[in-house]
Amino acid sequence: MKTNILFRRISINIIWLWIGLFSLLPLLLVFVTSFLSQGTNQFISYHFSLHSYAQLFSPLFLEVFARSLCFAIVTTLCCLVIAYPFAFILARLKTNLKPLLLLLVIIPFWTSSLLRSYAVVILLEANGPLNSLLIHWHIIDKPLQLLYTNFAVVIGLVYSLLPFMIMPLYANIEKLDQRLIDAARDLGANQSTVFAKVVLPLTMPGILSGILLVLLPAMTMFYIPDLLGGAKSLLLGNLIKMQYLAARNWPMGSAVSIGLTVLMGGILLIYWRFTSRRDRQALV
C-alpha cells in the first residue's frame, strides 16, 4: 500500500518534471524571446520590443495565416468526410476482426510521418504509380502535375492526420447505443432523420475532438508543405521554421509561435465550454 503511494508520487513527479523541462521551459523561453529584438551578431539582442508582434498583423503574415487556416479547414473536412463512414462501419462491424482492423489504422503511427510523406511524394510523382495508373486506364494521356500543388499538400496532410480523426470518432460511435437507433426507427424516423437527430448529435463529441486533433496540427506541420507543395505553399509551420532557420529572426519566429499557441488555447477553451464533462470523459 505504502510503496504504491510512493510509486505514484514518484511517477507523477517525474511526469511533472518531464513536462516542465521539455514543454513548459521551452515555451517560456519562446515567450521571452518573442519580446526581444533581432540581433546583428547573435540570434537575439536583449532589448524589449513589441516589434515582432506588430509584424504579426502585417498583410504578409495575415495572408500566410489565412492560407494556413484554409488548408487546415479543408484538410479537417476531408478527414471528417473520410473518417466518419470509416469509423462508423468499423465500429458497427459484427466480427472479431475489429481489433485487427483498428490496428491497421494505428500501424502508420509507428512509422515516422516524415517517411510517410516521402511515400506520398513517390505516389504522386509524374511517373509515379498514380499517374501510370490513370494513363493505363486511358483517363489521361500525359502525366498530371500532382506533386508540388495545393492538392498534394492536402493529400499529404489528410493522409498523415486521418488516424487522429478516426480514433475519437471510433471511440464515440462504438459507444453509440443501437437501441436508440431502434427507438428512433420505431417512432417513425427514416434513415436521414435517424442520422440527423440521433446519430449525429450523439457522436458530436467525437467529431469535435477529431476536428481539434486534426485542425491544430494541420496548421503547423511544416515538412508536408515543404515536401509536397514545393516552395509555393507557405504555411504557418513553414513560416516559423523559416524565421528560425533561414531568416535567423528568432523573436519573429517566437512571436508567431506564441500567436499560434494563443489561438489554439482559444479554440480549446471554446471546445471546453461547449462540451460537457460527460462528453469529454466518453472519449477516454
Binding site: D177, R179, L180, D182, A183, A184, R185, D186, L187, G188, A189, N190, T193, K197, V198, P201, L202
Partner: protein, 364 residues
C-alpha cells in the same frame, strides 16, 4: 374483416443457425391486453422486434390491420414500442423525446405542442418538460417512454418488460396505471414480462412462451387452472405434480395409483388404460384434514406436516408423504374455524376437491 389487429403466421426466426422462434402463430384481437409470458431468453423481445419491424423474419408473415407488413419498414407500421431499457434519447429533454414521433410525421407545430402537453399530463410529468432523461427517476423515465410511444396513437403498443427496472411498490402502481391507460386509450397492448403474477393480474389473455414456442394461449384463468403442458403449469405458480398410474377405466372414472394409494379420478380427456399420466394440483386446491376430522379416508393420502408458514389470511403448509415426498398446500382461514392450528409432525389426511386436479399425459 376479422377482429384481429395482428395476425402472425408461421413465423420463424433464427440467429447464427440457432432457431429462436419456431413457427409462431398468434392472433391478437383489437383492443385487448395480451401478455407474452416466458422465462428469460425464450424469444419475447425477438417476437416484439419482428412485430415492430426492427427485425425481419426468416419466414412467415405478419399482418397488421389487414395489411401484410412483413416487408414493411418500422416507420410505416403504426406500431410503437416501449423498450426494455426505455431507450430515451439522452441528448433531448422530455419534451423533445415525446415530440420525436410527431416531428417525424411533420405534424404542425401547434398540434405537436398540444399533444405533447396532453401526453405528459396523462403520465403526470408536465412539470418535468425541460429535464434530460438522466435527471429523472426510473419510474419517471418509464412514463416518458410510455408517453413517447402513446402520443403517436399507434394501432398497437408493444411494451417490453417496461416495469422490470422498477421497485416493488412503484411496479404495483405502474401496473394499475398501465391497465387504466389501456382502458382509457382503447389501444391494443402487447405486454411482455417474465413475471407470472404481473401477467395474470393485468392481461385479458396470456401467451405462455417457452423456448420459442407458444405453449398455451388463453385467459389468465385458463392458463392457471387448465395448463396444457407441464412446462406451463410449472412456470405459472406453484404446482404439485404426481406421477400417476392408470389401473382401470370405468366409463368416466379413472382408477389410479398415486403415491401407492388407489384413488378415483374423472376421465375428462379420454385417457386410455395404457397411457402414462401426471396429476397436477395447485396448493390451494389441496385440502388438509386433521386425523380426528375424517372418517372415510378412501380417497385421501396420509401425510405428516413438515412446515407451517402463516401469512395472515392464509397458511402455507409443506407436507411430507409416506414416500418422503414434500408437497405444498395453501389453506385459507375461515372466520369461525379454528381447525387451522397445524403443528410440525402432526399426522393429517390430504385430499382435493374432486375434479380440481389437472391430468396431463406424459410428454415423450
Amino acid at each position: 374483416m376479422t377482429n384481429s389487429i395482428i395476425q402472425i403466421r408461421n413465423l420463424c426466426q433464427s440467429y447464427h443457425g440457432q432457431e429462436v422462434l419456431h413457427n409462431i402463430d398468434l392472433d391478437i384481437e383489437r383492443g385487448e391486453f395480451i401478455t407474452l409470458l416466458g422465462p428469460s431468453g425464450c424469444g419475447k423481445t425477438t417476437l416484439l422486434r419482428l412485430i415492430s419491424g426492427l427485425e425481419s423474419p426468416d419466414s412467415g408473415e405478419i399482418i397488421i390491420n389487414g395489411h401484410d407488413v412483413t416487408q414493411v419498414s418500422p416507420q410505416e407500421r403504426f406500431v410503437n414500442t416501449v423498450f426494455q431499457s426505455f431507450a430515451l434519447f439522452p441528448h433531448m429533454n422530455v419534451y423533445d423525446n415525446v415530440a420525436f414521433g410527431l416531428r417525424c410525421q411533420h405534424v404542425a407545430k401547434d398540434e405537436i405542442n398540444e399533444r405533447v402537453i396532453a401526453a405528459l399530463e396523462m403520465v403526470k410529468l408536465e412539470k418535468f418538460i425541460h429535464r434530460k432523461p438522466n435527471q429523472l427517476s426510473g419510474g419517471q423515465q418509464q412514463r416518458v417512454a410510455i408517453a413517447r410511444a402513446v402520443i403517436n396513437k399507434p394501432l398497437v403498443l408493444l411494451l417490453d418488460e417496461p416495469l422490470s427496472a422498477l421497485d416493488y411498490r412503484l411496479r404495483k402502481n405502474m401496473q394499475m396505471e398501465l391497465k387504466a391507460l389501456q382502458r382509457q386509450l382503447g389501444i391494443t397492448f402487447v405486454f411482455v414480462t417474465h413475471d407470472q403474477e404481473e401477467a395474470l393480474s393485468m392481461s385479458d389473455r396470456v401467451a405462455v412462451i417457452q423456448e420459442g414456442n407458444i405453449e398455451q394461449l388463453g385467459t389468465p384463468r385458463e392458463v392457471y387452472e387448465e395448463p396444457n403442458t407441464l412446462a406451463v403449469a410449472k412456470f405459472i405458480g406453484e404446482v404439485n405434480i404426481f406421477d400417476t398410474e392408470i389401473i382401470e377405466i370405468n366409463n368416466d372414472d379413472l382408477t389410479v395409483n398415486i403415491e401407492g394409494r388407489t384413488l378415483t379420478l374423472k376421465n375428462h380427456k379420454g385417457f386410455r388404460a395404457d397411457q402414462k399420466i401426471y396429476t397436477l394440483l395447485r396448493p390451494e386446491d389441496i385440502k388438509v384434514w386433521d386425523e380426528s376430522e375424517v372418517t372415510d379416508t378412501s380417497n385421501m393420502l396420509p401425510a405428516v406436516i413438515e412446515e407451517v408458514i402463516y401469512k395472515g389470511s392464509l397458511v402455507d403448509l409443506s407436507i411430507r408423504l409416506p414416500s418422503d415426498r414434500i408437497i405444498y398446500a395453501t389453506e385459507f382461514f375461515n372466520e369461525d374455524d379454528d381447525t387451522l392450528n397445524y403443528v410440525h409432525g402432526e399426522k393429517v389426511w390430504v385430499e382435493w376437491y374432486p375434479g380440481w386436479e389437472v391430468i396431463l399425459p406424459h410428454e415423450d
